[in-house]
Subunit: 333 residues, 2 copies
């Protein structure tokens, strides 16, 4: 790998001049510029963005820190982020986090301006300590899919979403309903599932149909896990007549399990999800929609704004959720 030194030597100039050519400084004569450029091309020299960032103390990348980035909802958010970032001068780099360790590491990296110019933190919470550090850092950060006091964020009202789900099921005449959600086994501090459950439970209670604790199941946020959880639910002596899953992906797992048992959806079992991902319309899934793609765009725009104008005060945004009734819910038999 050729370095700036090599180029300088070969061109018979100082490294400063090469640097100037590299950065399009006007303080270089045309002839020198041409000569240096010639050597650069010839040597196939590429400046080290790393050394550049270290020297400058800043980089031109936006880092997105996201756990389980292949979940459909995460992908949809990332699509929004990417669509906005690609129109800017920044590069998008995605840091996957799969373990609690990585979460730590990503966060500590966060505050370093030479690593990333700005940060989007998806679905992860931050403790007050971390919030303080982030707020004090020179690297602006915006949280996506999570409300954080004191830092800009884009979030939804999970509690209200859970309530909507309950009210829909209640309105249909269901009294014995279940919940399939997430456990936070990795310790990421996910709360969406719990918040939705809380809203769900409250609305049920208020209607005089309190949620049976044995009908609440949690597991990893995958279709397979939801499938297993549901199979278990359906094996109970008094199975539920409806299931609210905390994501569409999980709702599909629920439906799968029901079909496996020969149950008709929604005839024998009503199923609803949360998110309204791409395929849900196709599959006719009743769900609580949250604006995933839009939330990504918004978060990116907020960050770009912050990057553009360090002093800018950016308000957190709460996005609306909306009930979308399709074909997987109906009155109980």
């Amino acid at each position: 790998m050729a370095t700036i030194q090599d180029v300088a030597r070969a061109a018979g100039v100082g490294v400063g001049t090469v640097s100037r050519v590299l950065n399009g400084s006007p303080l270089v004569s045309d002839t020198t510029r041409a000569r240096v450029q010639g050597v650069i091309d010839e040597l196939g020299y590429r400046p080290s963005s790393l050394a550049r960032a270290l020297s400058l103390g800043r980089s031109a990348t936006v880092a997105v820190i996201v756990p389980h980035f292949t979940r459909p909802s995460a992908v949809e958010r990332l699509r929004g982020l990417a669509d906005v970032i690609k129109e800017s001068d920044y590069d998008l780099v995605l840091f996957d986090v799969e373990t609690s360790d990585q979460r730590e590491q990503r966060f500590s990296m966060a505050a370093q301006a030479d690593r990333a110019a700005g940060l989007v933190i998806v679905s992860l919470s931050a403790d007050p300590d971390e919030v303080g550090r982030l707020a004090g850092a020179s690297v602006p950060a915006v949280f996506l899919d999570r409300h954080v006091e004191g830092l800009p964020d884009v979030h939804i009202d999970d509690h209200a979403g859970g309530r909507m789900a309950a009210e829909h099921l209640l309105g249909l005449g269901h009294r014995r309903v279940a919940f399939v959600g997430d456990d936070d086994e990795a310790g990421f501090g996910f709360t969406s599932s719990d918040d939705r459950l809380a809203g769900y439970r409250e609305a049920l209670e208020a209607a005089g149909a309190p949620l049976d604790p044995t009908l609440v199941r949690t597991g990893p946020p995958s279709r397979e896990a939801a499938h297993r959880l549901t199979a278990d639910l359906l094996d109970r002596p008094e199975p539920p007549t409806a299931v609210f899953a905390v994501s569409d992906l999980q709702a599909f797992g629920v439906i799968e399990a029901a079909r496996e048992r020969g149950l008709d959806v929604p005839g024998d079992l009503s199923v609803m999800g949360f998110d309204d991902i791409d395929v849900s319309a196709y599959l006719g899934l009743t769900t609580v929609r949250q604006p995933l793609y839009h939330s990504g765009r918004l978060a990116a725009e907020m960050l770009l704004h912050l990057l553009d104008d360090a002093g800018a005060e950016v308000e957190g945004v709460a996005l609306p959720v909306e009930l979308v009734v399709r074909k997987t819910t109906g009155p109980p038999r």
Copy 2:
């Protein structure tokens, strides 16, 4: 942000000693180690991975370069990659490429050992020049979803896949079939679509039912684009009785367009895709399956192997494709 200097000063030791503590070197007395560690904790000091990489000349990240990373097929591959990488000591960092410019930039970054320890390049081709550079670089690279002469890769036989599609449709009795594929507008050098088309065309020709050129449409690899392309196809005086879409995502766009016209699938129009993504089984889509998740795992394993043993010779792998007949194809009316 505290630096190693700050720590050294506060602990009353040299930076070298701090560095040794950081890296668990045995050449530090226990008392000194304890004192330094104390200061580190107190200051909340985090070493700069950037400076570290620059100094060391190598990093502990695997870089994945992938265009349009939110396509379902890309996500599925990434899932395989991530599942393997997360079990290793490496970090996974994803570089999105959306423009031809970015492609250049990512590639040039590629060969720099201080940026990434290893590389997985998804769906992108490399010209002989680039292959040479990559082969010579100290950073091992494996190509995924593309065959590259002289470098390890994981790929499928697109040509055979296209043939399979044609044979299936032919076997059902279709003679007037269409193709909905990708154009490579961004100039990434994608060839999968063309290769599948070639296989499709040849098989059709061999069966005496040559593909009508007006029934070949290409556009961006999105559902929406495929929808539009198909609408156009169906408006023709002699519409096709079957459509082969180059991806499942696009096949869904085709189906959408057909339904919009009030056409029954497969009664009025047979539709098949390529990939067999997650939801295809759900939707009963007939398709040509390629092992997406597995291909990601394989590529990651190959790279890890290369990283582990620089001398290792890794063979390119061709993965099989397989026809999966479901409910969107049938005999023509």
